[in-house]
């Protein structure tokens, strides 16, 4: 049952050292504020899951909070590689990170299976692809009707999923719009779900009946954090800060510059700082 609370409390109550956690968002609605709060609280030893780990996972890895990464595309979208992740994987700095790597199709199906309460997902995938050789969590199943071999992966069931959404209503129902990505599945697949939102409204009574809405009883905590997806964006609220993604490529290239940036922009910052960061990116509503 969704409870409204400040973000620090929501993270403290729902993310524990050693957890398997997903901070999901497919380019859009990335829960940056929640990830930064986790960094401030120094919750470590995490297994992080995400289809498209980008800047925030680069930051968590660089801060030494990550034991293992489950992913399908690890890049700074449109810019290049993730330099902190590379440093961890290639050089073990600040600590080695174990990698479980999939394709997007596999992870999308695995989240879907998690939301659907199944132990595994089957799909037509990985044919001729070498990931099946290096990832023991890629197996196969034979269709009992046609004999076709299909790829199988275990369902994803995070201990906790964090997502950012546009709106919650007063009861704690949550609305996600635009590029909805994998958020619904990631939220439903998790044991606990925390949502940061741009806005809290009275109700969704005028919303179209077929929108992506998570009922309040599927969510554990909701925190109001305007701008909380920056530098990603919130459809209808503010645009993507492409410049910040380009900047990250430079910041993350150097260990000391990275640490100074984190000190200033994360460790010594707070959830309410996000509102300022998107001020110039706000779109006409």
């Amino acid at each position: 049952m969704a409870r409204m609370m400040p973000l620090d409390e929501a993270v403290r109550q729902n993310l524990r050292p050693g957890d398997t956690a997903a901070f999901e968002g497919f380019t859009h609605l990335i829960p940056t504020a929640a990830a930064h709060e986790a960094i401030r609280q120094k919750i470590g030893n995490l297994t992080l899951i995400r289809m498209t780990p980008d800047v925030v996972y680069d930051q968590m890895i660089g801060m030494g909070l990550v034991k293992k990464l489950v992913f399908s595309y690890a890049g700074n979208p449109g810019v290049g590689l993730l330099r902190r992740m590379r440093d961890a994987v290639e050089n073990g700095w600040p600590q080695a990170v174990e990698v479980e790597e999939h394709s997007h199709a596999a992870m999308a199906n695995a989240y879907e299976a998690g939301a659907a309460g199944l132990p595994c997902a089957i799909f037509r995938g990985y044919r001729g692809a070498e990931l099946a050789r290096v990832n023991p969590n890629i197996k196969s199943v034979t269709c009992p009707f046609t004999g076709e071999q299909l790829a199988a992966v275990p369902a994803i069931r995070p201990d906790v999923t964090f997502i950012h959404a546009q709106k919650a209503d007063r009861k704690g129902n949550v609305l996600v719009e635009g590029i909805i990505g994998i958020q619904k599945e990631a939220a439903l697949a998790a044991r606990r779900t925390v949502v940061t939102v741009e806005e809290i409204v009275d109700d969704f009574s005028n919303a179209h009946p077929n929108l992506c809405i998570l009922p309040h009883w599927t969510i554990d905590a909701i925190s109001l954090v305007p701008g909380g997806a920056h530098p990603s964006y919130a459809h209808g609220y503010y645009a993507r800060d492409n410049a910040a993604y380009l900047e990250w490529d430079e910041v993350s290239a150097d260990r000391e510059r990275f640490q100074a940036w984190m000190e200033e922009n994360v460790l010594n910052a707070a959830p309410q700082d996000f509102a300022n960061r998107v001020e110039k990116l706000r779109t006409a509503q």
Binding site: H28, V79, E90, G178
Partner: protein
């Protein structure tokens, strides 16, 4: 050879755009494929359906997205579906006619590596990984690849089979039960390549204006085969060139974004 009024990269994008038609349903990789697909849409293929893996179907962006999920893609799309639906109903469902991919490493049979340079467990360079590519490569009706030529990129043997092209060549796809055509076209900054009908080895069928066989060979890590009848790629038309340049200029302006502190100029195909 006269001085060209277009760059090799522009020629690559425009040559790639010409391979697309209004009837195509194209699963668009970010970077060079995205530029080619949108030039096609803005010139000779206005009704092409562009799909980005973030879930946007039938997009018509005014500027090129920096990421696979920019707001522009959703705002101009016919509809936006969830990512599981995208990979299940649209890609795996067999509805994509062209999967359009870039590559970090490519071999002569169209196999692609975007995972690691070096050994998987101890990589020299940890690349971003496959993303949608492993299934785009096998579920799309056919695959077009576009990349700038270099000996580091076009190699004798790729370090990791991120996505399967023609494997060891010949009927390797069929032997694995893959019933789609795989890579049928490679467009580089120097040439257009098609697989040999038998061996499936990429063969140069057309050189871009002013490009020599030697230039193609010097920037390719394997011994290049040339078709008996080698064409010359028609140069960009004024319309193609202005369309591409306008698109790039709009994109550059847009990606500077809100002039956040430390913002760099321009974007980079990633």
């Amino acid at each position: 050879m006269t001085r060209q009024d277009f760059t090799p990269n522009e020629m690559m994008t425009i040559a790639a755009s010409r391979a697309l038609t209004s009837e195509d349903v194209c699963f668009v990789g970010i970077g060079a494929p995205s530029a080619a697909c949108n030039v096609a849409r803005l010139t000779h293929a206005p009704d092409i359906t562009l799909i980005y893996e973030s879930g946007t179907i039938g997009t018509a962006p005014d500027v090129l997205p920096l990421s696979i999920g920019d707001g522009e893609l959703c705002e101009t799309a016919l509809t936006t579906v969830s990512v599981p639906e995208m990979f299940r109903y649209w890609l795996q469902g067999g509805r994509v006619s062209i999967g359009f991919l870039g590559a970090a490493q490519l071999d002569r049979f169209g196999n692609i590596n975007t995972t690691v340079v070096g050994d998987y467990d101890k990589p020299k360079v940890r690349l971003p990984g496959g993303g949608g590519a492993p299934e785009i490569a096998t579920s799309s009706g056919q695959v077009y690849i576009t990349m700038a030529q270099s000996k580091r990129g076009m190699v004798e043997k790729i370090d990791f089979y991120t996505s399967f092209g023609h494997g060891d060549g010949g009927n390797h796809r069929q032997r694995l039960g893959i019933d789609t055509k795989g890579p049928t076209l490679l467009i580089t900054d120097l040439a257009i390549w098609q697989p040999d009908p038998e061996t499936k080895e990429f063969t140069v069928v057309s050189l871009h204006p002013g490009v020599t066989r030697e230039q193609v060979q010097e920037t390719c890590g394997w011994t290049v085969k040339f078709a008996d009848r080698l064409e010359e790629t028609p140069p960009p038309t004024p319309l193609e060139l202005s369309t591409l340049r306008d698109l790039k200029a709009r994109t550059e302006r847009a990606h500077k974004g809100a002039e956040a502190p430390g913002a760099r100029k321009g974007s980079k195909d990633g």
